[in-house]
């Protein structure tokens, strides 16, 4: 979810408090009649069908797919999946994607929380101006800067390296991260600082020993958002990673699908396997992702 996920939320930051949401309280109005369930079922089918088609199609042969595009696998063929899982390129793409996403996430989280700390908890002249720098960063999407960025990465000799993708991605993820983290850090009680000062901790000591552990939930949220955005990113890797050995999973999927265009079943297997890490990560983190997006948008 490259562009729109990281799309700047308009400038109203919202504290990402762990939500004390009352669940299931809307029992009063409208349960489910048959019509409601029918609509829900239709929505689920339309949403899931393409993904299910890809997974099941990967278990079919090209002859089966040609004979009947809708049918279930008969017999089930595992060759396509085996071929992908035993190919070195698939694992290389996965490894590259993982590296890029991890570096992006770590850089964004560390620099983001560091920058958000004084903006949230120091009083100094020019604080709002400094905060505005980050907020304004939201206005510049990667697409606008892509050409000079590509040339800059080339001049820094970072073409075909994970850093050439991870660092620019981290930079473009920073504004949203700071905008989300700042109110989160500001919402932690003031007494913490006073207690730490009485115990003799410096403000930097306070940051390391008190604030960082407490900002865990906020950090996980921004980290997950940055990770997913990086994992799915296409435009910047497309320009920066021209060497197949350095390419990430989205680039791998795209090139596999053009290279083996005739092998529909193989493409479906490759694509399905490429989806799995994102789906697993999403299922594990879905509450975080959802809360993060909601927190970035609503009050």
């Amino acid at each position: 979810m490259s562009a729109p996920t990281t799309t700047p939320a308009p400038g109203r930051p919202v504290p990402l408090q762990p939500e004390p949401r009352r669940r299931g309280r809307r029992r009063s109005f409208g349960g489910g009649g048959p019509l409601v369930y029918a609509v829900a079922a239709l929505v689920v089918v339309v949403t899931v069908a393409p993904v299910a088609y890809a997974f099941l199609g990967g278990f079919r042969s090209n002859a089966q797919l040609a004979a009947d595009p809708v049918g279930l696998p008969s017999p089930w063929v595992v060759d396509n999946y085996v071929a992908v899982l035993t190919s070195a390129s698939f694992w290389r793409y996965t490894l590259n994607s993982t590296l890029v996403a991890l570096i992006t996430t770590v850089v964004v989280s560390v620099l983001g929380v560091m920058a958000a700390y004084p903006l949230a908890r120091y009083r100094f002249k020019g604080r709002e101006a400094l905060a505005l720098v980050f907020t304004l960063g939201l206005l510049f999407p990667l697409t606008v800067a892509i050409i000079p960025l590509f040339l800059l990465v080339r001049d820094l000799q970072l073409t075909n390296t994970v850093w050439g993708v991870a660092l620019p991605q981290a930079a473009f993820a920073l504004p949203l991260t700071v905008v989300i983290l700042r109110p989160f850090l500001a919402a932690l009680p003031k007494e913490l600082e006073e207690a730490a000062a009485i115990d003799g901790a410096s403000r930097i000591g306070f940051f390391w020993r008190v604030l960082l552990p407490l900002s865990g939930p906020g950090l996980v949220t921004v980290g997950v958002l940055a990770f997913v955005a990086s994992w799915n990113a296409y435009l910047l890797p497309l320009l920066v990673l021209s060497d197949p050995a350095s390419q990430t999973l989205p680039l791998g999927v795209a090139s596999f699908s053009t290279q083996y265009a005739q092998d529909t079943a193989g493409v479906l297997a490759f694509t399905s396997l490429a989806m799995i890490p994102a789906l697993v990560f999403f299922l594990a983190m879905q509450r975080r992702i959802v809360n993060g997006l909601q927190g970035a948008v609503k009050g």
Partner: protein
Amino acid sequence: MTPRPTGADVAASPRGAAGAADRPDRSAAPARPSGGGRRRSSSRLSARTRTRLEIAFFTGPALVLLGLFIVVPVLQAVRYSVFDWNGLGPLDDFVGLDNYARALGDTVFTGAVVNNFVIIALSIAIQLPLGLAIALLLNRDIRGRGFLRVVIFMPYVLAEVVAGVVWVLLLQPNGLVDAVVEGVGLGGLTQLWLGDPDIALGTVMVVLTWKYLGLAVILFLAGLQGVPEDVYEAAQLDGASWWQVQRRVTIPLLGPTIRTWGFLSMIGSLQLFDMVWILTGGGPANSTVTMAIYLINQGTERGLYGYASAVAVLLFVISLVLAVLYQTFVLRRDNEVAPKPRRAAR
């Protein structure tokens, strides 16, 4: 690992860090008067200076990254845009505003701008009612609500490329989409979904709806949770039907959420690249080309870096103007524009 800070920050950060490290914890009461310290480190640095150094230490790395990879490239784009330049060699062929004039005179570019606007309008026209309907549905007390929520949001998390490749296969002749269309007895309506210039943009819209509807639903659901329960109770007591309550109470209360989602959707549509690049590459016959696709085609594909930079600047200006107009005329009522952290009064 992270780029080293430059200039003033380089000086500031290590000293800020060292200052913290060699200072025993006890000496660090925040508001200490400058002359009062007996220790050398604190007498050298007044409290104010130390605060400054700390601020530089904490924000410096982020600002450097921001400067290097956002500010510099954006300024460079503006600079390149007034040159005729192939990305190599000296930047010496100054052409003034020619690149801009050429872009605005190119029907492919103006077509791309129109396509972007069509995508913005259709995204909102399609996803708003659909997303609202599904969110209202999910807000009812039905079984499997949590499951539904996860399922509907799933496409949003998949990579555009991955989803796009699957859809290309679904939409190919004799693919699943054709089979379904024939299955419901509309066999005569099967098309070259992505190959016919007249309908390719429509097909792209269908895929975009599938991909991004989940975001609308999730955001609307969050907004719905902010609608107080007693509003429903009061309306129920007054004998309002479910639909009346939704139309007169819930949807108006959802206003701010809807307007914010509209903003996100608009900005996303303006930047649209990945999905269209995979589905059609901008074709057939440029019928689905977007500004970002045009930009990449001219830039890295054809090596016209100066010209592509002018296109990037135009894309930015168009986005900025739309964003400002939206803020002014749509979001104004929600008091959204404040850059300061502000608790929303709801």
